[in-house]
Symmetry: D2
Subunit: 160 residues, 4 copies
Amino acid sequence: MTSLAEQTIPTPDPDYAGKVRESFKRQAFMGHLGAELTAVGPGTCEIRIPYREALTQQHGFFHGGCIGALADVTAGYAGYTTAPADATLLTVEYKISMVAPGKGEALVGRGRVIRAGRTIVTIAADIFAVDGVVETLCATALQTIMIRHGRPDSRSADRA
Amino acid sequence: MTSLAEQTIPTPDPDYAGKVRESFKRQAFMGHLGAELTAVGPGTCEIRIPYREALTQQHGFFHGGCIGALADVTAGYAGYTTAPADATLLTVEYKISMVAPGKGEALVGRGRVIRAGRTIVTIAADIFAVDGVVETLCATALQTIMIRHGRPDSRSADRA
Amino acid sequence: MTSLAEQTIPTPDPDYAGKVRESFKRQAFMGHLGAELTAVGPGTCEIRIPYREALTQQHGFFHGGCIGALADVTAGYAGYTTAPADATLLTVEYKISMVAPGKGEALVGRGRVIRAGRTIVTIAADIFAVDGVVETLCATALQTIMIRHGRPDSRSADRA
Amino acid sequence: MTSLAEQTIPTPDPDYAGKVRESFKRQAFMGHLGAELTAVGPGTCEIRIPYREALTQQHGFFHGGCIGALADVTAGYAGYTTAPADATLLTVEYKISMVAPGKGEALVGRGRVIRAGRTIVTIAADIFAVDGVVETLCATALQTIMIRHGRPDSRSADRA
């Protein structure tokens, strides 16, 4: 939708990209999946997971749970770019539709903020299976996160 | 809902539990998460993931992506118990609401079929964080799977 | 899940039922659907829509859009019982799975709070098609609402 | 995503637009909402609902249930364009995120097919609140429908 692309996504923290990078590094599960943060922008985020046998389902393709986890973090960090410096985020919920098998040398997730509220942020994420230069959409997701003000990301946080 | 508990969930494959066990073993990603299949019944499934540092987010709790993956497989295998012997399944979509942090010595996922159609099966799954004998609900999910008849689970399968 | 039924749902507004009744009355769309508020409890709500030709799809059953609207308000008002007196609510999102046609003399929706946070409330709702004393589950939904403190329900409200 | 826009959406029924128009007319609930089918294309659909007091919530804006119903039918008919002549459709599920109040002289829903399978079709829909020439995104949805082959839309149909 052009109207979405044209909206200005606010990034109150000038170092929003550094903040995302730091938080990403602290997530041990991202290392366990071999995930790499490849791009961060205002309201956007891209994360890549190279293929490994350990990430597969019974047919040798990327497991749906791995695709879902990638959608979760890609959307979450896209949303996190809109938070102020002293805030952490909570995933409230997400929904993911699988549209093709995760068959390829890598998965790439791309998230973009749909609407950035002060407390509630809505984000879309598309997950592509990559085979050389060809990217095939394998899943699309919609996520809701909650921004928790005054709670730095490095501190422990309970649910609001 | 009592009306749900009372409905009879069909299991046309007499060895539905063996089928689920075999399929689960073939999913390398389940091994990577350290997941254990702890129970299978007609339209139900229970899977457990013991705590490991490798599965955490920045606050040291189970990562939401790990919680989501557990919901995905728990619901999927609960639904798979309703499939005939010569069928495989595809996850069509799921939605998950996070309601508490994944804080504990293990996650336990429990799936139960809501409605078993010939082609489309709807399943609910609850994910609990376990601390000793206390289980705290940390997420609840609704999933849709598609049964693909005449496609054994061990063969490669594309999306319908 | 017994563990859910056993939890105590907080209702900080002693007149939570009156508040729901008043808000329901102000929704012209509920009158347009012929919806009746039949029960309200702590974290629960029941709403009924008698059959009318005007509410049908091409096969003469209740339209999915009507079923979805019932899920939306039933879950929303179940969640609203957990809000303090000076708060209004916003629907953040919901997901609904359709499991049987809406075929009968009425639809009945029943919502129950899954988790009541101060700001975010997660609610489940089941929609049944009623034929005499027989109730058939026709849809199940999961909803997220946001409680807006200090914003009475009768005032106009923008999105948080 | 440009990759989505570029894909060719199949419309095996040459009269897909006529089929959608006929089906839309048979839905009494669409008349009850005052909905108008304003455009149909391969994998796309646009439906408009002019403002009426009868469609509002307690703040005088379009009710969320009306917004949800519009998302449901807009996505459903976008998906229905991909079905052969002798097929009807069933809504399997949808998820909708509300991002702004439904405040304006009309709602416009626009659906577009994300992936058209033989049996399962995934569709996205955006709902805009219209005020003069300004359109504001008020909700975004993802839907799954099932194509039932050999079941004309005008006949009664149970759930697969």
